[in-house]
Amino acid sequence: MITGISIYEILTVTSILFFIGVYGFITRKNLISILISIELILNASVVNFVVINKYLYPENLEGVLFAIFIIAVAAAETALAVSIIISLYRQIGSVEVKDTETMKY
């Protein structure tokens, strides 16, 4: 609980964070950058959960617990994604998004 800052400000920040992540996902050319953008999106949610828990429903820790799990899962996700990217890199020597467009239409 931070004095002078209500939940609205924080939610605004997380929303902006969320959309920055989305923007990054859509515009980055590199697969790794996209992964980083995804982390932003996930973190926006993490912050959301914590803040909502803290500000609105402080009696339970549901949100906080959720946040912890998200962090853990996000790590697994990233690990998997990176390993796939490596596998891809071995074959085509690139981690650019434009090189992953052989299948379309």
């Binding site: 989305v22 996902f25 859509i26 515009t27 980055r28 996209i34 998004v97 434009k98 992953t100 467009e101 052989t102 299948m103 379309k104 239409y105």
Partner: protein
């Protein structure tokens, strides 16, 4: 009197047809000829028995020849409206039985000689039997629908027989034309039947033609465009009759129908089938007469008179003897229609009706004779054209004599058959309608002229050099000629008016001497003119043809009726309607259906860019989807 044995009259030819049709190839031609003749002979005998029984044994009951019916329900439309099949015996049907039997028998006998050696010999007799059966059915019909059924069947037998020489293009075309034109007329007939059935609730002749019956009394109940619907129905039914009887303007099929074998022309297109229209009008005569004060009957009269004149003029100019005879038939049929059209109902008033039937009767004899004679000639010279003939009297004496008798009969030379009947017609016309009387007299003159034109042209005229000298036809052909010649000469003496009248009461007819004299005179003038023109080779015909100039040309080209029809059918119906519909169907109707399919596939190709293969575009779509949905549901579709 029991009339059930009369059922055998039509059933014999039907059996013959099935027998010959099924056995077709397994039966020797000579045998099939004999079977046909014998079968017909039995029918003929039965017909005469029936006539004798009806007129003389049974006789009049309460002063009238009553109608006798034996019928069974063939199909139900509604519990009250049904088609019956059966026989109706009354004076005209008995008279028609005689006509059909006699002519058909003669033609059967004749055909045995005429068709000898033809590969379709058995088929020919099968078709003839089919026709005879249908014609019997027609004349014996008890109701409108039955008559329509047999009407169609005679139509199809006519089609089959005209197209008998099916490898010949013109025969095929003629057969098709005959069927389609009459079919078109039948369309009117059918609609007329439908109207009658709907408004009167019955098809039965007896109910319909009862002058005291509701069908006639209530004619004014419903009207359409100023006329009673019943009148409309009668006009439409007359259209059917006009089609079969080759009345202007539905006559165009008849001359072409001469492509069929000559015996067929004699039987179907001269004596029997073509009079079906006249018979139909006569059958419904009380309706024609009483409904709307004979409005429809007037039309019959005018159409008949016009056709008579029209055909007679054309007949003068034609060079194909069968076509001349065909136009002559049309002209005579016009006569009969005219007679019906000017007839009254009761007693002597009904002289027109009687005369029409009488003329039908005599005409059948002499016109069949004319055709058979012409057939005999054609058989001998292998040509239909007048220019290929001439001086045949020396080679074919019997044919010559019989043809002459027939020609005189049709020209109205007393005391041959045609004189009597024609005289009655003229009387009727004179008494009821002066203008039509003059037309009729004029036509009588023309008739005499054209018939003697061909007579002289065939048997006298120029001496033609024949590649093979023509021979007189065999006995099987000359025998019918002789029989018919005798009949043509004598049937005029039958006291017809005592048997066949509109009210079935009968009256005594008297010769109207002044009128008879005028008619005879006119006929003689015609004959004399023909004698002058055609007895020897002369330039007179050409001169006069030139004098009449374009009129002659028009007449020679049958007043371009064929061309008009061709224009309507080929140019308008086929090219404008049919072809357009076919194209429209392909292009627009089918095109729309295929277009829907093609558009779908095209859309599919157009939107394929959405699936770009780039994961970021997918994410973009994802996010845009979410945002749009969120906006829509939060701001637009709020509750």
């Amino acid at each position: 009197m029991s009339i059930d044995y009369i059922f055998a009259i039509p059933l014999v030819p039907l059996t013959l047809f099935l027998l010959l049709g099924i056995l077709y190839k397994r039966i020797k031609p000579s045998v099939s000829g004999y079977i046909g003749v014998l079968g017909l002979l039995s029918s003929t005998v039965l017909s005469f028995v029936a006539a004798y029984q009806y007129f003389f044994v049974h006789g009049k009951v309460n002063g009238v020849y009553e109608s006798m019916v034996s019928s069974t329900v063939w199909m139900n439309f509604t519990p009250t409206l049904h088609i019956d099949m059966g026989i109706l015996i009354d004076p005209i049907s008995v008279m028609m039985l005689i006509v059909v039997s006699v002519v058909s028998l003669m033609v059967h006998i004749y055909s045995r000689g005429y068709m000898k050696g033809d590969e379709g010999y058995t088929k020919f007799f099968a078709f003839l039997s089919l026709f005879t059966f249908s014609m019997y059915g027609l004349v014996l019909a008890t109701n409108l629908f039955q008559i329509y059924i047999f009407w169609e069947l005679v139509g199809v037998s006519s089609y089959l027989l005209i197209g008998y020489y099916y490898t010949k293009g013109t025969a095929v075309a003629a057969a098709k034309k005959a069927f389609i034109v009459t079919r078109f007329a039948d369309l009117g007939f059918l609609i007329g039947i439908l109207i009658i059935g709907y408004y009167t609730g019955t098809y039965d002749f007896q109910t319909l033609t009862d002058p005291e019956g509701s069908a006639i009394l209530n004619w004014g109940a419903t009207s359409f465009m100023g006329l009673s619907v019943i009148t409309w129905a009668l006009i439409l039914i007359f259209m059917g009759g006009a089609g079969k009887s080759a009345m202007f303007p539905l006559h165009i099929w008849l001359p072409d129908a001469m492509e069929g074998p000559t015996p067929v022309s004699a039987l179907i297109h001269a004596a029997t089938m073509v009079v079906a229209g006249v018979f139909l009008v006569a059958r419904l005569f009380p309706m024609f007469y009483f409904v709307e004060n004979g409005f429809a009957l007037n039309i019959v009269a005018y159409v008949g008179a016009f056709s008579a004149l029209f055909a007679a003029i054309i007949a003068i100019t034609q060079t194909d003897i069968k076509r001349v005879l065909a136009y002559s038939t049309m002209s005579q049929l016009g006569y009969m229609m005219l007679a019906l059209g000017v007839s009254g109902y009761d007693g002597h008033e009904g002289v027109g009706y009687m005369a029409s039937m009488f003329h039908l009767f005599t005409h059948a004899m002499f016109k069949a004779l004319l055709f058979l004679g012409a057939g005999s000639v054609i058989h001998a010279v292998h040509s239909n054209l007048l220019k290929d003939m001439g001086g045949l009297r020396r080679y074919m004496p019997i044919t010559n004599i019989t043809f002459l008798i027939a020609a005189m009969a049709i020209a109205g030379v007393p005391p041959l058959a045609g004189f009597w009947s024609k005289d009655e017609i003229l009387v009727a016309a004179y008494e009821h309608h002066k203008l039509l009387y003059f037309v009729a007299v004029f036509v009588a003159g023309l008739t005499a002229f054209y018939i003697f034109r061909i007579y002289f042209g065939i048997f006298w005229g120029k001496e033609t050099a024949y590649a093979h000298p023509p021979k007189e036809s065999p006995l099987s052909m000359t025998f019918p000629l002789i029989v018919l010649a005798v009949l043509s000469a004598t049937v005029g003496f039958v006291p017809f008016s005592e048997f066949v009248t509109a009210d079935n009461v009968g009256f005594e007819a008297h010769i109207n001497y002044p009128l008879a004299a005028i008619a005879t005179l006119t006929g003689l003038i015609g004959i004399l003119l023909a004698w002058a023109f055609y007895k020897k080779t002369s330039t007179l015909p050409d001169t006069y043809a030139r004098t009449f100039g374009s009129f002659y040309k028009w007449a020679y080209h049958k007043f371009y009726m064929d061309e008009v029809y061709l224009f309507v059918t080929r140019k308008i119906l086929f090219r404008q309607v049919s072809e357009r519909i076919a194209k429209f169907d392909k292009k627009y109707v089918d095109g729309t259906m295929i277009g829907i399919g093609n558009k779908t596939v095209l859309t599919s190709t157009k939107i394929k860019g959405l699936q770009s293969g780039r994961v970021q575009d997918y994410a973009y779509g994802f996010v845009v989807g979410v945002v749009v949905l969120a906006l829509v549901f939060i701001y637009l579709w709020t509750n």
